[in-house]
């Protein structure tokens, strides 16, 4: 859990449309808190950027390049947006994730270390290692 990572972390916000049950005042409050959180992280040099995503989307899959509607959804949860964190440890990234203003409303925050290279390269390297063993 405490392995340092110089490439940073991506935190991904997953949710159903949880905010639809909120009153306009609550919604404004959560939106303001979220923006303030993002700006604070940027000011502290812990966040390099982020983006909210539209709810719609497309999926392209398989050898036939089939295009289908909608974002990927697991239990109706889709990815709503993400921040790119420039912190060095998973602990720091998780502790930032715990401040997400959406958590009390059912938002889940996935924290993923950014890899220095495509994981396929590692797979290839391990296969080469096996081949020469």
């Amino acid at each position: 859990m405490s392995t340092p990572n110089n490439n940073g972390y991506l935190i991904i916000f997953r949710s159903a449309e949880w905010y639809k049950g909120l009153s306009p005042e609550q919604m404004q409050q959560v939106a303001d808190n979220w923006m303030a959180w993002f700006n604070r992280l940027k000011d502290e040099g812990k966040c390099a950027g982020g983006n909210p995503l539209e709810r719609e989307g497309k999926i392209v899959s398989g050898a036939n390049r089939v295009v289908s509607d909608g974002p990927f959804a697991e239990s109706k949860e889709t990815i709503g947006g993400y921040f790119l964190l420039t912190v060095n440890t998973l602990e720091e990234a998780v502790s930032i994730a715990k401040d997400c203003p959406g958590l009390p409303y059912g938002v889940r925050v996935e924290v993923r270390p950014i890899a220095p290279q495509c994981p396929m390269v590692d797979e290839l390297a391990s296969k080469e290692h096996l081949a020469h063993a």
Binding site: Q28, A31, W34, I59, I79, L90, L103, R108, E110, E123
Partner: protein, 136 residues
Amino acid sequence: MSESNKNGYLLLSRTDEWYQQLSHEELQQLLAANKAWVGQLIAAGRARPGVALARSGATVFGGNKSVVVDGPYAESKEAIGGTLVLDVATLEEAIAIAQACPSLRYDYSAIEIRPISNECPLEACMRAREQQLATA
């Protein structure tokens, strides 16, 4: 379908480590093809350098006493393997780029395409409600 979006599009590669089944040569070839695909897009100003994600991490959920579980999102058989921001203006262009991704020649691979928003979804939801009230 043809609406334009000046904020660009996010490609999310969805995989379950299917590439482990490939032979050494197939993997090598696919890597080179993927590198060329991304390199070309970046050189043409149509994509920004992407992010590859390690197959580890944590998920945080719950309110004040938030719960932390190890690993990528637990329910996800098709975890996110990486992201690429496209600087193109239409969904068609984004789809065409995704369709050219060399990984798709293997059936286990999928790419999710999402328009990047210029505002928080909460703000958009509030605006929609206000419009509804105004026209009611």
